[in-house]
Symmetry: C2
Subunit: 344 residues, 2 copies
């Protein structure tokens, strides 16, 4: 599938979905839409993902060059910004499907529904949860697979990336590992999954449990994508539901080097790393005894490799477990802590 | 408003909504529907609430004797049991409104919609959240009122009852106190409120914050109704969202005397009371520094007053704070810990 990715004014640093798709999905990305960086290329900003030209808008692409437009950014609240409307309109007029992970459902927007209908294309809201979800039964721990969950000190610290990279590394080492996606980017990349932040709050754990039960007897390891942080003023409910719904055996604590306050909620300082470990393990203990056995530090903000290496070492010391930057360095020690010796 | 309350086979012990309405709401309860106890009276089971006869079903009441049928029970999962259908059907044929706090929306049931339409009556799903909810901004702490939140060791330990009783006691002592309801029973009693367990999980904290902002500058104390428990395998997400969305100053730890395992999830033991305090305070600290300053013990299961008194004293010792059974004993010490000296 040839996709264009909308990421206006937020590429690359605040375009989590766009970057995730560029890095992990099988899609052929034919362009990124970013009116701030039109004329440049993805490779001018990020080098370890597939390259693509950056365009002003959808109209700059030929109609027959693209199969789908993907909304690659998600503002706080998940609303649709009206400055994106022209791009979606053009995509639909081109006959492209539009794939969105926003809280705002394109499939309930009157104009988009009409245009999709007229042009025979599809509006796919991946954040629209299935109708048959229900409360957890507390049985995720009964599956054969070992459950490994990424947990974080904040939003946007690299939980999705860590999940994808560690699952890849485990597979490279000969293990049978799968990813359990819980957010829009992960779902777009993996092609399945429940959008946990969009389910009825009573069903939060249940929507995770349902995925664990679906895959848990087919693999040796499930890497569950965590969300938010357990002390986030807005999103902790989702984090807590994933922690109890997935009933993890092992936790990977993800952190962004240098982050000191909650992103977008800067009046709230991040507590000490030790506090996070106590809270995640303390909350997990009565349900599944998950322990923080590894760490993932996002060192994107550090230009120098030596400084990044030092930050990772300090982080490992602080959490008392092996750590790495899954993008910048190798994951061998972390992987050993999570899945043991290489498989066959 | 004259209401009949449906509570088949679960009255009184598992009919939380029915009991809450009998105890706190202004409605005139003309009958309880319970096919197991038909012919008896509410007062044969519970003495400190308004009395009403118990009937086999809706057909046993006269059509002109009742204005509304209220679903007074909520099974795990919040489904509609088909054995209740005849009662709802009869109520609608009588021209009664039907009020429900189930996850299953009566207003989306084809037969009920048709009958309501034919008979000019209303289907009111109080668990249907408003459409304009969004993510929390982390500002509940800025209101004038002191925020007091009930938290629990499990579901169905008395958080709603404790909230109602303590708010009443505070008002009796001359304070300006209001209740912030978060569940179906509280919403039915108070006549307003967001059904937190039914909102989109990303909006859990936001839906609580919105209520705090609405009432927080009009009162000196807000008593926020807690839900679930922070270590519940299915419902902890809701608990966590309320804890961070309400940004409480003080917490009241509610527990059911003798409860040792999670209700309905008996393979999970309740952790020690001290563990709950550590988890609730530890999770609250980075956001609002809420502290457990009082306890509420539900001693319904203890026949003897002396045994109940002893259990309350032991509970107070265990949590290191004044405690009471808000139904059985007075709340003076607990109230002083929460709101200080009597107001004016």
């Amino acid at each position: 599938m040839r996709v264009a990715i909308l990421a206006h004014e937020q590429f690359p640093d605040r375009a989590k979905t766009a970057l995730g798709v560029l890095r992990y999905a099988d899609h052929d990305v034919v362009g990124v839409l970013d009116r701030e960086n039109a004329g440049e290329d993805v490779a001018d900003f990020v080098t370890d993902v597939q390259d693509a030209p950056i365009y002003e808008g959808m109209a700059a692409l030929e109609a027959d060059a693209v199969d789908a437009l993907l909304i690659g950014i998600a503002p706080i609240g998940g609303g649709f910004e009206d400055s994106w409307r022209e791009d979606v309109r053009t995509a639909l007029e081109y006959g492209c499907d539009v794939i969105s992970g926003l809280h705002y459902f394109l499939s309930e927007d009157e104009e988009f529904v009409r245009l999709a209908d007229e042009n025979g294309c599809e509006l796919r809201d991946v954040r629209k949860p299935p109708a048959d979800l229900t409360v957890a039964e507390g049985v995720a721990g009964e599956v054969d697979a070992e459950i490994i969950l990424t947990v974080g000190t904040d939003c946007s610290v690299g939980k999705m990336t860590t999940t994808m990279e560690l699952a890849d590394a485990a597979r490279d080492a000969g293990h049978d590992a799968a990813v359990v996606p819980t957010g829009q980017t992960g779902i777009v990349i993996e092609g399945w999954g429940n959008p946990i932040d969009r389910v009825v709050s009573d069903f939060t754990a249940g929507a995770v449990e349902e995925m664990i039960l679906e895959k848990g007897d087919d693999h040796d390891y499930l890497f569950v994508e965590g969300q938010g942080s357990i002390v986030h003023p807005a999103y902790s409910a989702v984090t807590c539901g994933i922690l109890h719904g997935s009933m993890p055996d092992r936790l990977v604590l993800c952190h962004d080097a240098g982050r000191e306050a909650i992103h977008g909620y800067e009046s709230f300082d991040l507590p000490a790393l030790k506090t996070y470990i106590d809270l995640y393990e303390g909350l997990s203990a009565p349900v599944s005894d998950g322990e923080v056995v590894a760490g993932a530090l996002n060192t994107t903000g550090l230009k120098d490799d030596d400084a990044a290496r030092e930050a990772v070492d300090e982080y490992a010391d602080a959490i008392g477990a092996p750590a790495t930057d899954v993008i910048r360095f190798d994951a061998a020690d972390v992987l050993e802590a999570l899945v043991g010796e290489p498989g066959v």
